[in-house]
């Protein structure tokens, strides 16, 4: 591992995994943490517990803002363990000089998203630091949820199971790239940032046995699939043309040399279910997004790896993203 921490260590990919494994897991090791799920399952499987910090730039972007993200992100981590989000804490670090009006706009956005989840902020903390110490505003949220379906796990995948995505992938990452200073693109693209508990609840209410569930945040769908393939020691085979990607996202990926499956999402999850539940689950997902799709299946061809099949009969591996996402040179 490099001697200094670089931006690449926060990419949700290979370097990020190394950092977590070699420093945090090494010292904090315990049975709950080492399961490496979206949220820790505690109190004999009754509660899910998680935390996340939000440092997005810009703070406001098409379809969302840092406040919406801070609630969605933590509530979604709980929902991904089959839990209903209940109680959140909210801790903010503010750079001096920040506008109180913008702060209120962000907090109002948080409140709206809490209502969607039926959750509330029950404790918090505020720090103001000298100019230059943080980039405008960082938010940390921690959440507790009540588990409604037990046994959802990254290590439960078995041969023949189906892989689904809840909607088209890469919209958040592409929106943030387009909104960042320096890329002036005319685009009506919006982030997918949304609370996922309602969709998870609909799946549970329909009686679907959810095997694994994960929102594809940093590192995108590629990171989730790779983690599952490793945790369950199986191969995940994806039909590339079945992966739904909006045309605008494809356009940004083409221009900058990215792949949509590596881009971050904030309201898109990947789901593993038994083959026989496939049609029913897709029905439920399609009610929320018409782009939901079955994208692949679990096989044993290259255990621990993700295989991408093209429509012209070639295969390639889909690896964990590495490094900072940088545009190609030419």
């Amino acid at each position: 591992m490099n001697k200094t921490i670089t931006i690449a260590h926060g990419n949700g990919g290979e370097e990020n995994n190394e950092l977590i494994k070699n420093i945090f897991y090494k010292h904090f090791e315990n049975e709950i943490l080492s399961k490496s799920e979206d949220a820790a399952v505690i109190e004999e499987g009754r509660l899910a517990f998680t935390t996340d910090s939000f440092t997005v730039s810009p703070l406001f972007f098409p379809g969302g803002d840092i406040g919406k993200l801070a609630v969605c992100g933590t509530c979604n981590d709980l929902a991904m363990m089959g839990a209903k989000p209940k109680y959140l804490t909210c801790s903010v670090i503010i750079e001096e000089g920040f506008s109180s009006r913008e702060l209120e706009r962000i907090v109002r956005s948080m409140k709206k998203e809490l209502e969607t989840n039926g959750a509330m902020v029950v404790s918090g903390d505020t720090k103001v630091v000298p100019k230059g110490s943080v980039d405008k505003l960082f938010i940390n949220t921690t959440g507790i949820g009540a588990i409604e379906q037990k046994g959802i796990s990254a290590s439960a995948l078995k041969e023949g199971m189906s892989i689904l995505v809840s909607r088209d992938v890469g919209a958040h990452g592409a929106t943030i790239f387009a909104a960042r200073e320096g890329i002036e693109l005319e685009s009506s693209l919006e982030t997918d940032c949304a609370s996922l508990y309602p969709e998870v609840k609909a799946l549970m209410d329909a009686g679907i046995n959810i095997v694994a569930l994960r929102d594809a945040t940093r590192g995108g769908v590629a990171a989730v699939l790779n983690e599952w393939a490793r945790s369950s020691d199986v191969c995940i085979e994806i039909e590339e043309e079945n992966v739904p990607v909006q045309e605008q996202v494809k356009g940004i990926c083409e221009m900058l040399g990215f792949e949509a499956v590596n881009l971050a999402n904030e309201g898109t999850f990947v789901l593993v279910i038994d083959k026989e539940d496939e049609a029913k689950a897709l029905d439920v997902l399609l009610q929320a997004h018409e782009t939901s799709a079955v994208i692949g299946r679990v096989s044993m061809e290259h255990q621990g790896r993700v295989l991408l099949n093209s429509s012209w009969g070639t295969k390639r591996f889909l690896d964990l993203p590495t490094g900072e996402l940088l545009p190609r040179i030419c």
């Binding site: 200094t4 690449a8 190394e18 890329i183 591996f317 190609r328 030419c330």
Partner: protein
């Protein structure tokens, strides 16, 4: 409307049925060949496409892809990266470059490491963004570390043109632009040090289309004529590459040796004359430019003309820039890979000591590098 056009730009060029049809045509023609042929795609962009879309899996056994030196990051010698690193450490300097360049390891680390230690290093999507950075930081000097082949050179020339016209006082240039035909000649002309003979494996070239959009297809004329190597100037989409390969195979079947253009929708014989004029206004050839892994290649580099020396960071900062040439890691075979003499999996440190997260050779750094493409897309499937 704009979105519709964007979609049209690539959709048909990735069509599965068309790709399969080309694979059949190539296979049928390849049966008529008297010997196997090795086709070098000069450009890293082609290497990336070929590996990403799994095209070697569609080739008959007697058609081989060999990978060329056309990646601006891969061919940058360590001492030039050290220049960038040293410049980023100078007081009140903002060092600006393109994409992957910030990941390449120099002797003291990469530009990414320099940034983590506090240097102001930025990457841009277009060199023109330097103007905004310079205007927002009037007390700082913005140094644009310019890299790339014929494709990116005009952008540097346009930036310098704007700097002069708008009289922007705080933008300097460190020029590392190189040219494609000269290195192609070098690959054919140079003796292989391992066996001391001219045993390059190149039978034909797939020429990069974006280079010819600027410089025209005419730059490849000497290759069929003087070197007996056909060249097909091809686009980067998989259907383009497959059509380009098919055109090359047909030349061998029909015993022709010509320069042809597959990418006729944009490339002309003459190229973009305005861009060429702008390059000629600001740049001179340097007699020798050292390429990583390939050594000195005559007439392959560019520098700012004497009249524009006051914008040249390499001259203004010459007292602090290191001059010694630095050899590659002794286990790294990037040089052989860039010459098309070896494929990445033949390297003993490929995928073990040398990975995209810990690159030892620069072919593993850039997404255009052959090693990174093999590692990312097909180290088990196609090797």
């Amino acid at each position: 409307m704009a979105e519709l056009e964007l979609k049209n730009l690539y959709d048909d060029f990735r069509d599965g049925k068309t790709l399969k049809a080309y694979a059949r045509i190539i296979a049928e023609d390849a049966e008529k060949l008297e010997r196997p042929i090795n086709i070098m795609e000069v450009c890293g962009g082609h290497t990336h496409s070929i590996m990403k879309f799994g095209l070697p899996q569609l080739m008959p056994e007697n058609i081989n892809f060999i990978h060329g030196p056309g990646c601006p990051v891969c061919i940058m010698p360590k001492e030039r990266i050290d220049h960038a690193y040293v410049l980023s450490q100078q007081p009140d300097v903002i060092l600006v470059t393109l994409g992957d360049m910030i990941k390449v390891p120099g002797s003291n680390g990469s530009l990414q490491d320099a940034r983590a230690k506090g240097a102001d290093v930025r990457f841009v999507y277009s060199p023109m963004e330097c103007i905004k950075i310079a205007q927002e930081n009037p007390d700082k000097t913005v140094i644009f570390f310019a890299i790339g082949f014929e494709t990116t050179t005009p952008m540097t020339a346009v930036l310098l043109n704007q700097v002069i016209q708008q009289d922007i006082p705080n933008i300097l240039f460190h020029i590392n632009h190189v040219t494609v035909p000269e290195v192609m000649k070098e690959l054919i002309d140079s003796r292989d040090v391992h066996v001391d003979s001219y045993n390059n494996k190149i039978d034909a070239f797939l020429g990069p289309s974006h280079v010819s959009v600027i410089a025209g297809s005419k730059i490849y004329e000497p290759f069929p004529r003087e070197y007996g190597r056909p060249v097909v100037v091809s686009g980067f989409e998989p259907v383009d590459v497959m059509e380009g390969i098919s055109m090359i195979v047909k030349q061998f079947v029909e015993k022709r040796c010509e320069l042809e253009i597959q990418y006729k929708r944009v490339v002309t014989e003459e190229g973009n004359l305005n861009a060429q004029k702008l390059i000629d206004t600001y740049f001179d050839k340097v007699s020798l430019f050292r390429w990583r892994g390939l050594g000195n290649v005559p007439d392959s580099g560019l520098k700012l003309k004497e009249a524009f020396e006051k914008y040249d960071a390499e001259i203004l900062y010459k007292d602090v820039l290191p001059i010694a040439e630095i050899e590659d890691h002794k286990l790294c075979i990037c040089g052989d890979i860039l010459r098309g003499m070896a494929k990445p999996p033949e390297c003993t440190i490929f995928g073990t000591a040398c990975k995209p997260t810990t690159p030892i050779g620069s072919c593993m750094v850039s997404s255009e590098g052959a090693c990174a493409a093999y590692y990312k897309y097909g180290n088990l499937i196609t090797s």
